[in-house]
Symmetry: C2
Subunit: 118 residues, 2 copies
C-alpha cells in the first residue's frame, strides 16, 4: 500500500518535472481541451505532445477520451491534490518544529540563568 | 526570468520524484541531520545517498555544510513553497472554473425555458 502510494507520487512529481507538461496542466486547469489545442502554445510536433499526454495520463493528472476523430483531455484535480498534500504535510512538520523551537527559546528566556542572582 | 523559474520547478519536481529523496526530505522537515542519519532508513550505500543529496541540493530543497568530518543537512522550506505555490495556483484556476460553471448552471435553472409558458 505504502509502495503503491510512493509509486503514485513518483509518477506525479515526474509528470510535473517538465515545462511543456506543466503548460498542458495549466491549460487544462482552465477547462477541457483537444490535443491540438494543447499543442498550440508548445513548439513541438503533435506526436511529441501525445507522448507528454501519455506521461500525464499515467500519473493520473489528466484523462482523455476520443469521440470521433477528436481526443478531449481533462484535468483530474484529485491527483494534483495528492502532490499538494505531500508537500503540505512536510511544511506542517517543519512549522511544528519551528513552533517547538520558539517555545523552547521563550522558556529559556523566562528561566533565570545558572549562577544569576535571584 | 520565466525560463529560470521553469528550470527551478523542473529541478524541484524532479527532486521530489524519487521515494528515497522524499524520505530524506521527510527526515529533514523534522530537523537537521548528518548524511549517515539520512542514510539510516534507506537500504543503500552512503555514496548513493550522497548522490541523492546532490540532486536535492541542486533543487534548492536542501543545503548542507561540512564541519570537520560531519556534513550536516538542512531543509530549505522556501523551495518547497515554490512547488506548493505552483500546484495551488492550478487548483485555484480549476476551482474558479467550477464556480463559474456553478453560477452558469444556477442562472440557467432560474431562466424560463424557451417555449415554456410564462
Amino acid at each position: 500500500m505504502l509502495n503503491q502510494q510512493a509509486a503514485a507520487l513518483d509518477r506525479l512529481f515526474k509528470a510535473l518535472a517538465d515545462p511543456s507538461r506543466r503548460v498542458m496542466v495549466e491549460r487544462l486547469a482552465r477547462g477541457p481541451a483537444s490535443v491540438s489545442e494543447l499543442a498550440r502554445p508548445l513548439a513541438m510536433s503533435l506526436p511529441a505532445v501525445v507522448q507528454h499526454l501519455q506521461v500525464l495520463e499515467a500519473s493520473g493528472l489528466v484523462r482523455s477520451e476520443k469521440t470521433g476523430r477528436v481526443r478531449t483531455c481533462r484535468m483530474e484535480p484529485a491527483a494534483l491534490q495528492a502532490a499538494e498534500r505531500w508537500i503540505a504535510e512536510r511544511r506542517a512538520t517543519w512549522e511544528r518544529r519551528l513552533d517547538r523551537l520558539g517555545d523552547f527559546l521563550a522558556e529559556d528566556v523566562g528561566r533565570p540563568k545558572r549562577g544569576s542572582k535571584p
